[in-house]
């Protein structure tokens, strides 16, 4: 494991910017209202500015993504030749990562709805990911973003298959935590697709059989088309140049690279040390200030280069994203210092760290919680 030394090395940079002056859980209603006003002001400032340059930004990203994807697919037609195989895998992996993260995830949050353009709108976008947009919008936007880190409500705490919090009761199957997570990473998109069918909700009697079946059908249909594209039709075309087999390997590699990267970034969002969980009791009659506080306390950022932020769809600014889920992603880096300052003022821990350390901590949690 090369992760551990790296994590150790960086452990000297403090997790929080400075020691909390107040206990964030003891803020009075008046203080929480003030906190809400400060966060609202950050939001208003950005939304009053969004304009031409933002629209240009997202269109450029979309054009880059489509060019990468077309180049990648073209390379795959001749992937018998090693350099083209590598180029193809590179273009397709980056293309798929951009499509899912900086574009898909953010579009589906409605970050670009203000442009009033159906070509880049949360109600029309279908992403290059097996999980259909509609189901994901429900489990992610409605459930996870509303109930962030509330045990028993936010199903993203472990996705029903992992034990990710000490307050979740231990079951013998949790011994498999590390194995399951290791298996989940390369198959992340299929995992999410199955998760979005919400079989557990159906078994618990909270979701009708009909709705579950409809979701199941939708997933199967999309799974069929996604697989046909990458693993049947494209390889068939590539076989004309004798590249059929090589292209199957290439598409598999690109899909797996995307899955592992998405899994990695997403596990760094809420599971590193410092990101808190809550109980249903905590969120009863929650005000806007409470809500902001919970979102900030329950999320974790990743420090890194602009390229890393871009490739993570700016989910490396998880705290900012959870405070303002519909804020265009290209603004998150700019507001981060202000958000950090507001958190410091109210004693809220602003969890942030470099990628290797956040990955290490998330995995450490997966392993530790395998045991009772």
């Amino acid at each position: 494991m090369t992760l551990a030394p790296a994590a150790h090395h960086t452990a000297t940079t403090a997790v929080t910017s400075s020691p909390p002056r107040r206990d964030p859980l003891r803020l009075t209603e008046a203080e929480l209202a003030e906190l809400a006003a400060e966060f609202d002001a950050v939001r208003d400032e950005v939304f009053s500015r969004s304009g031409q340059s933002d629209a240009q930004y997202i269109r450029r990203v979309v054009a880059l993504q489509r060019s990468l994807e077309m180049t990648g697919r073209a390379c795959m037609l001749f992937s018998r030749h090693k350099p083209l195989w590598w180029a193809g895998v590179g273009c397709l992996s980056v293309g798929k990562i951009l499509e899912n993260m900086e574009i898909g995830h953010n579009v589906l949050h409605g970050q670009w709805d203000w442009m009033n353009d159906k070509e880049i709108h949360s109600t029309t976008w279908e992403w290059d990911f097996v999980a259909p947009s509609a189901g994901w919008q429900r489990t992610h936007n409605e459930t996870h973003h509303t109930w962030t880190n509330v045990l028993g409500k936010d199903r993203d705490v472990g996705y029903n298959v992992l034990r990710m919090d000490p307050d979740q009761p231990w079951k013998p199957v949790n011994l498999l935590n590390p194995v399951i997570n290791l298996g989940l990473a390369p198959a992340f998109e299929w995992g999410i697709a199955i998760y979005d069918i919400e079989l557990d909700q159906f078994l618990a009697g909270k979701k009708s059989g009909r709705a579950t079946f409809e979701d199941f059908k939708r997933v199967m249909k999309k799974l069929g088309r996604q697989s046909a594209k990458d693993f049947v039709v494209s390889p068939l075309l590539a076989s004309l140049t004798g590249s059929g087999k090589a292209s199957i390997k290439g598409f598999l590699a690109a899909n797996v690279i995307r899955n592992v990267w998405a899994h990695t970034v997403i596990f760094c969002g809420h599971f590193p040390d410092g990101a808190e969980t809550f109980t249903e009791e905590d969120v009863r009659d929650e005000s806007r200030g409470h809500w902001y506080r919970r979102q900030a306390m329950g999320s974790a950022n990743i420090d890194g280069s602009r390229l890393m932020h871009f490739m993570s769809g700016h989910l490396s600014f998880q705290i900012e994203h959870h405070l303002f889920p519909d804020m265009p992603s290209n603004h998150l880096a700019r507001i981060a210092p202000r958000v950090r300052e507001i958190c410091r003022k109210y004693g809220i821990r602003y969890t942030s760290g470099p990628l290797p350390r956040q990955v290490f901590q998330a995995w450490r949690k997966v392993c530790r919680l395998a045991l009772p």
Binding site: G51, W114, E119, T124, D128, Q226, K229
Partner: protein, 350 residues
């Protein structure tokens, strides 16, 4: 381009590889003009007509249908990154590349007049409208004011070459010669086709023309009552023409470019959109549509003048008043949000 069946086949085949995106989304990278959601146009030429008016010529991508003289189309432009739509009449004659002629007077029109340049993209909906030339030849009278000349220009350019001796009178009201759109083109057309007799009325020199005054009109066109009349321009002008024609039993063909709003008495109102769980205050001079747009809540709309009915949204509770007629409407069911205000509360299923 090609047979629709063949095109459909290729699109479906390409769609397997471009899934879940439409293949046209990828074609856009190479400058294609259409997408799964829109027909687009590319500006080819911009001509300044008057200090505050330009004509924008464009080529349209797949999905556009050739216009008939007098029709209008909804045009979408991007203002500060946001797509906004307004109806504009097509000023070019039939069978040519389409053009619109826009006079700067607000958000979208100013943007077009100041920024439109060759190469820019316009978003387009299909031409529509019933302001059309008659099927059989008759003596015609066109009465237009200001930018109301645009559809009529298309009609004259289409009609006159087809029937050079056609008896047509054009009464055209504008502020002065400088602000008179297409002034020289109209004179040229009249030179070429003697059947066309244009009458320019400059309000700076002659004051307001009362279009409902039969005597005043008779001076400009003695046989006006015997002609089939067309009127286009601001609501007040068009209504005056209608009043006069009505007095001698005629029904003119009309097109209004704006709405004269009934005074709301400074009353504010409130609307609620149940599906999006949103409650908004509606200012004294605002319509339901405008209030929703101000709150970044997009509602469907077309002409924004109460003519096309593309803005219908079901009213589920409360009441609205029509800002043109002052009529109160309280039955649940679809209402035109572009010409109504809450009275004073209204709930919509949107």
């Amino acid at each position: 381009m090609g047979h629709p069946g063949i095109k459909g086949f290729f699109r479906a085949a390409a769609g397997i590889l471009s899934y879940p995106q439409d293949p046209r989304s990828f074609a856009q990278i190479f400058g294609a003009l259409s997408s799964a959601h829109y027909t687009r146009g590319r500006i080819t030429r911009v001509r300044r007509e008057t200090p505050d008016t330009v004509t924008v010529f464009f080529t349209a991508g797949d999905g556009w249908i050739p216009h008939r003289a007098g029709q209008w189309a909804r045009i979408g432009v991007e203002v500060d990154g946001k797509r906004i739509w307004r109806p504009y009449s097509i000023s070019a004659p039939e069978h040519g590349d389409p053009s619109i002629t826009v006079k700067a007077q607000g958000l979208v029109s100013e943007h077009i007049v100041e920024r439109a340049a060759p190469g820019n993209v316009l978003y387009l909906e299909r031409p529509e409208g019933q302001f059309l030339l008659p099927d059989t030849p008759t003596e015609l009278l066109f009465m237009v004011a200001g930018s109301g000349i645009t559809p009529v220009m298309s009609m004259l350019q289409t009609l006159m070459p087809r029937r050079p001796d056609h008896d047509v009178v054009l009464i055209y009201v504008s502020r002065n010669r400088e602000s008179c759109i297409f002034h020289d083109e109209i004179l040229e057309l009249a030179d070429q086709f003697p059947g066309l007799r244009p009458v320019f009325w400059f309000t700076e020199e002659r004051g307001r023309l009362d279009a409902s005054d039969a005597d005043a009109l008779a001076e400009l066109c003695p046989d006006h009552a015997d002609r089939v009349t067309y009127a286009c321009g601001p609501d007040s002008f068009v209504s005056a023409v209608e009043d006069l024609a009505g007095s001698h039993g005629g029904t003119p063909v009309v097109e209004r470019f704006d709405v004269t709003r009934q005074f709301s008495g400074g009353q504010r109102g409130e609307v609620r959109f149940t599906r999006s769980d949103m409650t908004l205050e509606v200012g004294p001079d605002e319509t339901v549509l405008e209030a929703a747009e101000r709150a970044q809540h997009q509602l469907p709309h077309g002409c924004r003048m109460g003519i096309c009915h593309s803005c219908l949204v079901p009213l589920t509770d409360g009441a609205v008043t029509n800002i043109r007629t002052g009529e109160l409407h309280r039955e649940p069911g679809p209402v035109q949000t572009c010409v109504t205000r809450p009275a004073p509360h209204a709930v919509f299923d949107a």
